[in-house]
Symmetry: C2
């Protein structure tokens, strides 16, 4: 047992997704939110708020929490080093941090990673944690999509690309070529719930599944933040709406607890399919 994931977190969706995924997979998470960059959605997780200069405090808290794996994730603006409140360990590291910081953020982070590894932690890059969450390409789980489902998937991918370009949202549902629903501010779960309430003449049913949910990022957005996120509840709500499957842009959307999503999709008879980013954008 590696213990809970140690998450040293700044702002944004990625640390939230990493925390959610760690809980969803059962590993659990211990979140140290960085002072001045406290992501509000992480407040409910076990952990603490720590200052940027409290390196010793961070190390001891992670040890106490039983963490072995540690990830840095989220947005943190580079601090003014002269304003930092330092603990002993922070003060000892400061000269090296300042000299490396001149070489860029990566070099700065490398100093911290070395320090954490010296103390026995396994540091996972946020890109690595991120990549593990991204949807892969091709059939991920469930039965292979029928030809009709692949057409619905393509229409939905094109529609979501268009509504994304209009900055409306990141998802839509298409059945037999008809756009059943477009996601805006209500979110995916709410969109799927209303699809389940549409007349079953224009949608599928659990007994005769048809139609596809597509999730993909807006073309305009910064892909490091606010990527569309899917999880077990997405699979279950899509199933309840009678859909045949879910299309997720490969490399463009996050899957929280992919093994559990795949298992649920198999049980319910839905496909999960990673479509290429080029689909429907030509």
């Amino acid at each position: 047992m590696p213990g809970p994931l140690g998450l040293i977190a700044g702002l944004g969706d990625l640390p939230v997704a990493i925390a959610e995924n760690a809980v969803a997979t059962g590993q659990g998470v211990h979140v140290l939110r960085l002072k001045g960059f406290e992501e509000p959605r992480l407040a409910a997780y076990p952990g603490a708020v720590v200052g940027l200069g409290e390196i010793g405090g961070v190390l001891s808290r992670l040890k106490e929490a039983g963490c072995r794996d540690v990830v840095f994730a989220g947005i943190v603006n580079r601090p003014n080093f002269s304003d930092l409140k330092l603990d002993l360990k922070g003060a000892a590291l400061l000269p090296k941090v300042i000299s490396e910081a001149r070489k860029g953020d990566d070099a700065l982070l490398r100093v911290l990673v070395q320090e954490f590894e010296k103390h026995g932690f396994n540091v996972i890059g946020s890109e690595v944690a991120h990549a593990a969450l991204l949807a892969p390409a091709g059939l991920i789980a469930g039965p292979p999509p029928s030809d009709l489902s692949m057409i619905d998937l393509e229409v939905a991918a094109r529609t979501a690309a268009a509504t994304g370009a209009l900055d409306i949202g990141q998802g839509c549902v298409v059945c037999d070529g008809l756009v059943l629903a477009v996601e805006a501010q209500e979110g995916t779960d709410e969109m799927l719930r209303r699809c389940a309430g549409l007349p079953d003449t224009i949608r599928g049913t659990p007994a005769a599944r048809r139609g596809v949910l597509v999730k993909r990022p807006k073309p305009v957005q910064d892909r490091r933040i606010d990527l569309p996120t899917t999880g077990v509840s997405t699979v279950e709500l899509a199933a309840a709406a009678g859909l045949a499957g879910i299309g997720i842009e490969a490399g463009g959307a996050l899957m929280l607890n992919r093994p559990a999503m795949a298992k649920r999709a198999e049980e319910l008879g839905l496909f999960l399919y990673g479509f290429p980013a080029s689909l429907g954008t030509g």
Copy 2:
């Protein structure tokens, strides 16, 4: 009292809108659905199904129902005259109908109108009934839109034009430039209900109204059928969602019982505004 409106109805949204409007305004309606072209949404209204050749039957039914105003509306394909089941009056009219029919649908209809007027009915063209239902241009009711509301209206008009061009739907809600919701198959009422459930940080409230619902036809659609329709419930649901007003494409969307809509908008403090078809399509 003119008695209920006599509606001789084929298929489509226009006869449905005319029937709804006649009920909404309190006139009431007596619906004679034409055999072979029975609009299912009209089945619940008082009336009957009549054959295309039963002219005498139609006249006597309208008299019995106390109708004075009569309107022909809806889609009816021209019948094969030799297949028609005729009553006495129908048989008497047939030679004239056939000779006029050669000149076109308008001429054919003119024969029928003359016959109805000979029997004391006041025949209203479906274009006239239609025109009375269409939204006019400019401020229709309520307080003049603020500058911010006019910007929301323009963003919403542009968004609805784009989603309409994608054949998604005929409406959307925008607040402070953010697209709160896009209408697809769920319909306007359902879209407004979910707006009322969004966090009130991104939407208005009845105490501090902001945001605009826009309804406009899809650019691709045949404007004689399936025009977007608004009514008193649209005003009330928009009010409950905290919106500042409703933008309706002038000449491009129907208003059922416009006087009652205007009254309700005044009471609730929302504007109803007919925007030009050119807005947001450039």
